[in-house]
């Protein structure tokens, strides 16, 4: 039914799985990307975003499942650049070739005339360096060249992998407006990124994956409200740890989740502000602060994916640089461990990982990986 309405332009993945030896990069991924909107593709590093992009473009063959663009596997499209434009990797060019010759060779592959090459060079603002070898290009110029290649064939479907990497603020604004304009013309725009703030401004719809599995497929506003880490910050008088513990116990007893921030404030989730105030009053604790905190997309995202992060940074102790202290030369300096970053976000609601809320999922033909046995998010 969707085929006829969206015709040519929909990207549809069904049960997409990719294994490299024992490692599963993408597991049972099903989603649809529709025309007319910018669809953001989010996930932590190593979540499988690029692998998925490569499978959409037929560069990698899925181990299981399939992905089609307008009903056809990409490798069977009769004239790919006229239908699908892609920017995968800004550095995927032969550095010894000039920007113009690079684009010309791509244009000729689908019978696009050379004057179109000059046209897109103007669109991305590279006309002055068109005859320069792309080896000397900055990352931002490389991104512009990659975007030019994607735009060459005036395609109906566009895929961009991290398009704003290395761009200056002017370039970021330009890309943002370009994506929106392309989508408003009725094209399908699929953009991967890990810049949440950027996605919040650009995308209308989000597909979030973590460890190769679908975490969410919904509109940006739904995503924030479903995964919001809204909380109340409660501060008791400094120097009265006993009253903080008392309040903490009272709040937990009332069913709230309480986390302690590094500076001693409490993060309370699960209770409305008046109730917190009442509880504090009831247990005779004075409050210095009781403030609501609304989550940004970034926080909602971090909260959702924190269980699915593969590469987590640790504090650099620089222990490998310092020489072993000689005995008798004073006590070794005490290292004060920083509060780990992950403690900053409230724990995900039960079942938010792997059991992606299927609210905005427009019933894809194959079963979405949302696990029906998992309890629905209470919010």
């Amino acid at each position: 039914m969707t085929r006829s309405r969206w015709g040519w332009r929909m990207i549809e993945a069904v049960g997409l799985t990719k294994r490299y030896g024992a490692k599963t990069a993408v597991y049972n991924l099903s989603f649809q990307v529709r025309p007319g909107t910018v669809t953001g593709f989010l996930g932590p590093n190593g979540a499988g975003k690029s692998t998925t992009m490569r499978m959409i473009l037929g560069l990698d063959t899925p181990t299981e499942g399939k992905v089609t663009i307008g009903g056809l596997p990409f490798r069977q499209t009769p004239n790919a650049p006229r239908q699908v434009g892609a920017l995968l990797d800004a550095k995927a060019v032969h550095g010894g070739r000039s920007a113009r010759n690079h684009l010309l060779s791509l244009a000729q592959l689908s019978g696009i005339p050379a004057r179109r090459v000059d046209e897109v060079l103007g669109v991305v603002g590279l006309q002055d360096v068109a005859r320069k070898r792309s080896k000397g290009f900055s990352l931002g110029m490389g991104q512009r060249l990659g975007i030019a290649a994607a735009l060459l064939g005036d395609p109906q479907v566009l895929l961009f992998d991290e398009p704003v990497n290395g761009l200056d603020p002017e370039g970021i604004l330009w890309v943002r407006n370009l994506m929106k304009r392309l989508a408003s013309e009725g094209r399908t725009v699929f953009v991967s990124s890990h810049l949440m703030s950027e996605m919040a401004l650009t995308a209308d719809h989000l597909i979030v994956i973590g460890r190769g599995q679908l975490l969410a497929d919904m509109s940006v506003t739904d995503f924030i409200s479903t995964n919001s880490a809204d909380f109340a910050r409660v501060r008791t008088p400094d120097g009265e740890p006993q009253s903080r513990e008392k309040l903490s116990a009272a709040l937990s007893g009332a069913g709230a989740q309480v986390l302690t921030e590094p500076d001693g404030a409490l993060r309370v989730t699960g209770l409305p502000l008046p109730r917190i105030s009442d509880l504090a009053h009831g247990s005779d604790v004075r409050l210095w602060e009781l403030s609501p905190h609304r989550a940004s997309l970034e926080e909602a995202y971090m909260r959702m994916t924190q269980g699915a992060v593969d590469y987590r940074s640790t504090v650099d102790q620089k222990a490998g640089l310092t020489q072993q202290p000689q005995p008798g030369f004073g006590a070794p300096r005490q290292q004060i461990p920083e509060v780990p970053q992950q403690g900053f976000y409230a724990p995900p609601p039960p079942g938010s990982y792997a059991g992606a809320p299927a609210a905005a999922q427009a019933a894809p033909t194959a079963a979405a990986p949302a696990d029906p046995t998992k309890p629905e998010d209470p919010r």
Binding site: W6, L59, F74, S110, A149, E185, G186
Partner: protein
């Protein structure tokens, strides 16, 4: 929420390019590969070095022989172009490997295969363009150096038409096929330095191994290794006088063409099945 796709009743106006879309074909890929091969410096460099080697060494030998008063009355004069062409084969192999492996090295292959998902079409275009570039340049160079040698060494007997044909057209075809073999090896190995090393091994190893196989029981193997080594086959193309074993006449051309075709078949299979 304003995302249009959620307003199920109002589908977005569909976008279609004002310029009609036609099917892409091999001719497009050929034009593209021609642009690629002429727009990188490695092509210019390898072909220039090749020209210097073939013409330079050919002329040097001719001039040296002319002044040495050696008896060359019964020599096949064109054979003196052999040494230059043998050295130039390194350039051809390098260019053949780079045509493919540089795309892997830079990541350009992903851009190419995104713009043309038919991998066989890309490889066919690459192979055809590369073959023609090498064949035409070698043909021109061997014709030039042959003419120069014949005019300098005018005391020797004039080459027959058959000799002319084989040591220009035949040698060029042989060299271009050797280049195709390198191109296929480039697809299989995907790494410039590795593939070039492998190809130099293919050219040199049989002769080197033959030299060390001076064992009575292995005499047949030694002879075969020598006869079918690439330098010897190239020499046979110039003159097979006194050659009584191994390939003769036009056989080196057929052998090299068959080997290159087999390697290319492997390259097609691997390229179509492998992830990029």
């Amino acid at each position: 929420m304003t995302t249009p796709h959620q307003q199920q009743g109002a589908p977005v106006a569909s976008y279609s390019s004002p310029i009609p879309v036609r099917k892409a074909h091999l001719g497009d890929a050929l034009a593209s590969e021609w642009t690629k091969i002429r727009s990188v410096r490695s092509t210019i460099w390898t072909l220039s070095v090749m020209a210097v080697l073939i013409v330079g060494i050919g002329l040097l030998i001719a001039v040296a022989l002319n002044s040495s008063e050696a008896d060359i009355a019964n020599e096949q004069v064109l054979f003196f172009g052999f040494f230059g062409v043998l050295l130039a084969s390194v350039c051809v192999m390098t260019l053949g490997v780079l045509t493919v492996a540089s795309e892997y090295g830079t990541g350009m292959i992903r851009t190419t295969l995104t713009a043309c998902p038919s991998r066989s079409r890309v490889l066919t275009a690459k192979a055809l363009v590369f073959f023609l570039v090498v064949f035409v340049s070698t043909l021109v160079l061997t014709l030039v150096v042959g003419a120069l040698q014949v005019s300098i060494l005018d005391t020797a007997k004039a080459p027959t038409n058959e000799e002319w044909f084989r040591s220009t057209f035949g040698v060029s075809f042989f060299l271009a096929s050797l280049g195709l073999l390198s191109l296929a090896v480039g697809v299989l190995i995907r790494h410039s330095a590795g593939a070039i090393t492998a190809m130099i091994g293919v050219v040199l190893l049989p002769m080197v191994v033959a030299m060390f196989l001076a064992v009575e029981s292995l005499a047949k193997v030694q002879e075969a290794l020598f006869d079918y080594s690439i330098p010897n086959q190239l020499g046979v193309l110039y003159t097979d006088a006194g050659v009584d074993s191994g390939p003769q006449g036009w056989e080196p051309v057929w052998i090299m063409t068959a080997v290159a075709a087999a390697a290319l078949a492997g390259a097609y299979a691997v390229l179509n099945s492998r992830d990029v």
